[in-house]
Symmetry: C2
Subunit: 128 residues, 2 copies
DNA sequence: CCTTGACTTTGAGTGCGCTCCAAGATGTAC
DNA sequence: GTACATCTTGGAGCGCACTCAAAGTCAAGG
């Protein structure tokens, strides 16, 4: 998370105006860090900024908004579960395509041998 | 995938100029569909357009580019695996936070009871 | 004293991936 | 015949999430 991003998040209300040192520089408390870490985690899993803003707003209103906030988290958790499924199926597809490419490569090596096995041994031997 | 997106993909070279009906309208073959489906799958897992362009370019050059293409897929597969991990840890974090919210809500209900259990029964009974 | 460098601000700029607009051609329904 | 929908094109516009530029302040080091 860059300094630019931190300032941006403060600007759009994702974090409350943060404490300053005597020279005016920002000083992040442990609580700030924890909150930023949570924000980072949500962003990394594709929660849009506007939803994070909504959540931050509710959070500032205290416990009374618990239900609403929980709803947001549950929705996002469901989105995450869906993402995981999509990623897993893509992962499987890639495994399949990659083994296919390996077959193609083997065929090419058989049809157009550039280095025989002894050539390879030779190369290795001279390299050492 | 919208018509807009299909045209966009053709424009930026992700798909070869596709066949046309006599009236000039695009007609997608089964092969086109399969390729588009693959593209969709890669986009859905955050492969950037430029990398898909690179892959498409290699693909048009035939089997000789197999190794390079496989590298792209392997890299993307690794990226997917990393994404899955990140999503899983976020999922776990959310589970934790959600149960926390449920605790808060229970405390609120105990402190400020609006409906007693009999009230609830009453409501249900009159609704049926 | 003067440079260096890390911070401050406001506001503008960037890159990505679409997404839409305007104008025009064609096909379908009434 | 005449609406209306659906496609065509090139080019412009948009939303998101940063990311940077310019100008200024301040503290430490040489």
């Amino acid at each position: 998370m860059t300094a630019h991003t931190l300032r941006y998040y403060e600007r759009v209300g994702l974090i409350q105006p943060v404490g300053r040192a005597s020279n005016g520089h920002r000083r992040y408390s442990k609580a700030d860090e924890a909150w930023l870490n949570f924000l980072h985690c949500m962003r990394a899993t594709s929660m849009p900024i506007c939803e994070m803003q909504r959540y931050a707003e509710l959070r500032e209103q205290g416990d009374a908004t618990s239900l609403e906030r929980r709803k947001i988290l549950e929705d996002h958790q469901a989105a995450i579960a869906a993402q995981i499924e999509e990623l897993q199926s893509a992962h499987a597809l890639l495994t399949h395509k990659i083994t296919n490419y390996m077959k193609i490569e083997r065929r090419i090596r058989v049809d157009h041998p550039v280095l025989s096995e002894t050539d390879v041994d030779c190369t290795l031997a001279s390299a050492s």
